[in-house]
């Protein structure tokens, strides 16, 4: 389901987030472009530490400053550039128009208030509900996300809930205002697969009922395959591949994507006595490290001379596919354009 650019709810252009160290500025997010259509689910995947969370936090202007800073780019949402809004302007967007499910619930919840109170507050502040109504609605929401004994559990403090329950509290908090865009940063990592299926179903229902768009950050390629319309794959601060989910799974092009898909163990393949799982060797370069060529070159099994001397652009081809790899430029473009109907 590719969306027309004009329909996009959110468009990020040339986003750059840097860490300031003395006079040096190292980019952890280095020229990221993304767009999400109305009712679309964009899956954002990539190596641990590649800049997914910082990209997401930038949208709500929540990157920790200092030491970080959004040094350039535009984030277009609802006809405005979010990066140009005043402090009070962006506060009005948070929670009401764009909400975020944070990767580490403990970092987002206040440990001295009960979880129920923290969700009730969102109802009171954003929806203007009375305490009593806010309480009733909070209990309803807790039940919707599958927290058992909701009317008792709203009195629990964060440390009294399990990891997965905290994640469900975060999900509940994010859907209070039914915002047009939800950013979900690893929202189901602590859920067993049956509850995970229930939470994903809830998000899918929001999408079909209200046209909610979703930026879904996850390491679980199973979830991406089942939930997302498109995927963007990030590596060392940049998008390296993007396209419709079916195409990326059937014809991945960037060697990092290939390696990632190759590392997914399949349940039926794990046999007794198997001693190793496949992984991509090597480590990613440090942000801001001087690279003359492709950032993946040192780990790439298809590396050739050009990769070391020239920086690959994000080539666009086919229907909404983008790849940052010379392989596309050299051969794959020809092949893919021949194959395309």
């Amino acid at each position: 389901m590719t969306q027309e650019a004009s329909e996009s709810v959110l468009r990020i252009e040339g986003l750059r987030v840097v860490i300031k160290r003395g006079r040096r500025k190292n980019a952890v997010v280095d020229g990221v472009d993304l767009s999400i259509g109305r009712g679309e689910v964009l899956g954002l995947v990539g190596e641990s530490g590649c800049g997914k969370t910082m990209t997401a936090l930038s949208i709500l202007r929540l990157v920790p400053d200092p030491p970080m800073e959004i040094s350039s780019g535009r984030i277009l949402f609802g006809g405005r550039d979010l990066l140009k809004l005043s402090a009070s302007g962006i506060r009005k967007v948070r929670g009401r128009e764009i909400s975020m499910i944070f990767q580490e619930p403990m970092s987002a919840l206040n440990p001295v208030h009960t979880c129920g109170r923290q969700v009730m507050e969102v109802f009171q502040v954003h929806k203007g509900l009375s305490r009593h109504h806010a309480r009733t609605r909070t209990i309803e929401l807790f039940e919707m996300v599958g927290i058992p004994a909701a009317s008792t559990r709203i009195n629990a403090y964060p440390h009294e809930l399990s990891g997965g329950m905290l994640q469900r509290v975060m999900v509940a908090m994010a859907i209070v205002c039914r915002p047009p865009l939800i950013i979900a940063d690893e929202p189901t990592t602590a859920l067993d697969v049956t509850i995970q299926a229930q939470v994903l179903e809830l998000l899918v229902k929001l999408r079909s009922d209200f046209g909610t768009s979703l930026l879904f950050i996850t390491h679980d390629l199973g979830i991406v395959a089942q939930l997302a319309n498109r995927i963007s794959i990030m590596y060392a601060g940049q998008i390296v591949e993007e396209g419709p989910v079916t195409e990326i799974f059937s014809t991945p092009v960037h060697p990092y994507t290939l390696g990632l898909l190759d590392s997914v163990p399949r349940l039926d393949e794990i046999a007794e006595g198997q001693s190793r799982l496949r992984a991509i060797g090597g480590v990613a370069p440090e942000p801001g490290a001087l690279t003359t060529g492709c950032r993946f070159a040192d780990r790439c099994e298809f590396v050739f001379e050009r990769c070391r001397s020239e920086v690959p652009e994000l080539f666009t081809y086919g229907e909404g596919r983008r790849t940052r790899c010379f392989l596309v430029d050299e051969a794959a473009t020809m092949r893919i354009s021949q194959e395309a109907p």
Binding site: E104, T189, L267
Partner: protein, 334 residues
């Protein structure tokens, strides 16, 4: 191993952990959360016991109480034949060195004022494993490398790391002392699949080389299959099924185990993944259902389930299950 393998390196005997509950007015009510509600298990030297189960069913609490980080309400835990609840002070600390935890929540478990160098290296110095600062630095750097982090992370503070990088610091810290027993609570949840594979390979190596015993808590059924010898499935404070890893995946008997296996998202956009969602109310550990505690969500519930609490029985050799549907031991199961 020098010691006798019986009754296992770690043995958990009829363990209960109940938490008191706050009422709306901050008074303690008489209700409790029955987080762990009668669990017995044994882990042999070199064995990995995988623990999977519903979110909130008590896995973390069980892991913590095995390490004596939570006080059990009843029951006991033996480590190498010693009842840890009887120990305090220095003898306890001596045991502690051999038992490490990878926390589920890296954010809350890393001291924000310490650098990675100290977080990972401190215990080594305390226990005299490294003699000099130089040796400590080298050892920390090499541990970081094994978890896929560059050595310059040594000087970082936890807030200067991504979620998955913090998680790997937690892993490096737990491995620093080469423990004999490791509780790994969701150690892979914030890692991409390639780094997951790398860490899991590392854990497998340690298992084989150092004969580490491990309680591996996870929601990732593929990883649990890969790494575990035995798998226990937990639901609402209890073990409902336990079997050798391959056997469990070939012949899951408990309806909850089957539902779990069906709900794994398939990494293929063309295959239609439609888990039949478990209907019914998710029961609460405060007022667990009478009879079988899975019956509120069980697709096969029948009259007996409400009346009687199914016991954990050996359905076939080495395969335990608590379900009224599973016939008597001798009869063949379908």
């Amino acid at each position: 191993m020098k010691r006798v393998a019986h009754p296992g390196l770690v043995s958990v005997e009829d363990l209960y952990v109940h938490f008191p509950l706050h009422s709306a007015f901050m008074k303690r009510s008489r209700d409790v959360v029955r987080a762990v509600d009668g669990v017995s298990l044994g882990i042999e030297p070199g064995e990995t016991l995988g623990l999977v189960g519903e979110s909130g069913c008590g896995k973390t609490t069980l892991g913590w109480s095995v390490l004596k980080l939570v006080r059990p309400t009843a029951g006991r835990v033996l480590f190498d034949g010693t009842d840890l609840s009887q120990l305090t002070g220095r003898p306890l600390r001596r045991f502690r060195r051999h038992m490490q935890l990878i926390f589920q929540d890296p954010y809350g478990s890393l001291n924000p004022r310490m650098t990675v160098y100290n977080i990972v290296g401190e215990a080594m110095r305390v226990h005299g494993i490294v003699k000099s600062r130089k040796a400590q630095r080298e050892r920390v750097a090499s541990l970081l490398e094994t978890v896929g982090l560059r050595s310059d992370f040594i000087y970082r503070y936890p807030h200067e790391l991504s979620g998955g990088q913090r998680q790997r610091i937690g892993i490096a810290r737990a491995l620093a002392l080469e423990p004999r027993f490791l509780v790994a609570d969701e150690p892979l949840s914030a890692l991409d699949v390639s780094i997951q594979a790398q860490i899991v390979n590392l854990m497998k190596d340690l298992q084989e080389k150092l004969k580490i015993s491990m309680l591996f808590i996870t929601h990732d059924l593929k990883m649990v299959k890969f790494l575990s010898h035995t798998i226990a499935v937990m639901y609402l404070g209890r073990i409902v099924e336990k079997a050798p890893a391959d056997e469990l995946f070939l012949h899951p008997l408990h309806p909850y185990t089957r539902a779990l296996m069906e709900a794994i998202p398939v990494p293929d956009p063309l295959s239609k993944w439609q888990p039949t969602p478990l209907k019914g109310e998710i029961p609460s550990p405060i007022h667990p259902p009478t009879g079988c505690n899975f019956r509120t969500r069980c697709p096969h519930v029948f009259e007996l389930c409400e009346r009687a609490d199914p016991h954990l029985l050996e359905a076939k050799a080495g395969h335990l299950v608590a379900c009224h549907l599973v016939k008597e031991p001798e009869e063949p199961t379908s």
